[in-house]
Symmetry: C2
Amino acid sequence: MENKNQSVGIVRTEFYTIDEKIQFECGVNFGPITVAYETYGQLNETKDNAILIVHALTGDAHAAGYHSESDKKPGWWDTMIGPDKAFDTNKYYVICSNILGGCSGTTGPSSINPETNEPYGTSFPVFTIEDTVKVQKKLIDFLGVKGIYTVAGGSMGGMQAMQFVISFPSMVKSAVLIATTSRLSPQAIAFNAVGRNSIISDPNWNNGNYYNKENKPDRGLSNARMIGHITYLCEEAMYNKFGRRLQNKNHYDFNFDIDFQVESYLQHQGQIFVDRFDANSYLYITKAVDYFDLEEKYGSLQNAFKNSNAKYLIISFDSDWLFPSSQSKEIVNTLMQLGKDVSYCEIKSPCGHDAFLLEYDVQSKIIKSFLNEHIEGNYYE
Amino acid sequence: MENKNQSVGIVRTEFYTIDEKIQFECGVNFGPITVAYETYGQLNETKDNAILIVHALTGDAHAAGYHSESDKKPGWWDTMIGPDKAFDTNKYYVICSNILGGCSGTTGPSSINPETNEPYGTSFPVFTIEDTVKVQKKLIDFLGVKGIYTVAGGSMGGMQAMQFVISFPSMVKSAVLIATTSRLSPQAIAFNAVGRNSIISDPNWNNGNYYNKENKPDRGLSNARMIGHITYLCEEAMYNKFGRRLQNKNHYDFNFDIDFQVESYLQHQGQIFVDRFDANSYLYITKAVDYFDLEEKYGSLQNAFKNSNAKYLIISFDSDWLFPSSQSKEIVNTLMQLGKDVSYCEIKSPCGHDAFLLEYDVQSKIIKSFLNEHIEGNYYE
């Protein structure tokens, strides 16, 4: 464990079960939903110093700190959340929850349906980003939060952050949107579709009923993850990390085993992923991402944001080809046309889409300055 | 069938079986090899007006013309090969053969091993681009060709064209290298690796022994093709072709069927592919492509090309992100440093890597000018 002065220390994932059913966009009235969440820092007396962190495709509630004294791996955004860090737990009450439909504690397709005592599987309703945000709002209310100082996330997290601002405009002071988009490009949809196809074509997927089976759709899920990983990196990152170097050999093997380091890396990423992620959750969450389309939903991007009074910080990365800077700039331009308060920064990085998890140093500086000076300075205007 | 004045007309795939065994790079001495090929136009008296066309990943010997009067679909590069076309059959003797390891007539993993009377499957040796070129040379010799006026191909065809020039420098007058590279980027290797993984993870692949089985690894092969297709298009092509339009519906289905046109297109491409291609051939040919690395093989790109006296025409497409222009420029720069005769053109196109099959108009003009003026004008120097 790192120095406790820079860490939120030992944390615990908590669970909250929403009593009433929630109306999903697909028309289904769904419940009960249990939400797995963690909080760091203290809620102030006016209950308006909350920071809502929203995770990307395969994240979870454990965003910062450690789960035990012997725990070696901190939360997924520990570099950004903690005392004096970008999201400063000395000043703010930071909340992160596992997304609806996930497989790390929040109700999803792998959860037991209390009406059948069997896992939901594909009887789980297909949900949208707006549905996930409704669930987060219930958690916020339960925690007694009255005002969100900022809602922040990268990639799919940025989609949820935008949707939160749009759905609950009076509650949100600011939003930090990183490496995100108001709607996926057809190419990004295509990659998700091939990933899902890979899972669905795995005979062990068995129409989503595999939880009680010996064999799970691990090969399909692993392949989907490999496809995803190619899109999270970029050409430059791949040259830097692997080039055309061979894996533990000097010559080609002339068989269909792994020859290149990049193959080995992807296979490894695929293999470790199946131990921590559920194939059905992958189907549902990628579908929610594909469906997210603020232009289509609200008639235009301007319409989507017109009622929000939040201040925006938008960050993109020049080597991100999955959610390229041009998509961030579209949001920035719309917000500027609406006369909203928006700061934008394109960070030079060789890390591709993954940069939102890796480039914490430069992101921290920008976010700190935004939160501590730009927003805080204007807080009691 | 189009106007016969612009077509090579009715053509027939022929077969030639190489008697002796061929030494492969992997060390195996392999034979017999049957080569499927087509020819268009007449070999001249000096037997040096041959144009060797080399196909891309999933092509075949049928590059031009029709197989019958009722045939509606011409050969894969019919737009480029024929009377007065880029590769002018009034003047040149055009040869195209199916690649070693393929599944359209040339000996490959789906062929019967005469020693066992069973299909080779994965007992077929892993071959390289150099091995495929050795096979093509045997065919050329059999046809009585003494001089290659030009060797031309796009994508993997360009790799074979380069290797042919390098392996048989005294025989080749010129080379037309389109949308190709002297070695795949790690990202391109990654896409091939995931495609192969998709096939190998299909239980019906069965270690390559599926030819006598009822179920073939169609789902794995289809998925591999879908991944490939994403890389053959580009962001702009996908926006132009599909955008985020839904397939035969106005609203999301909220299930895991096809929602978007781009999904429908990819699924269709995957499905029709399995009817014409063999999964093992896909494994072998993508491996040959991954292994192709002129820098590594010859110590440097300069060394690779230093003995060639061919004149080069190199064409790339600005929207090709699989084999980007930067890779073509690397070859151009090397050839210029060596003092070789090289022409280069980057064509503006919204078609991505597929442009070498689609942008025939502009390519034809450039290739015609190169072949008829630049090369022919210098032919008897």
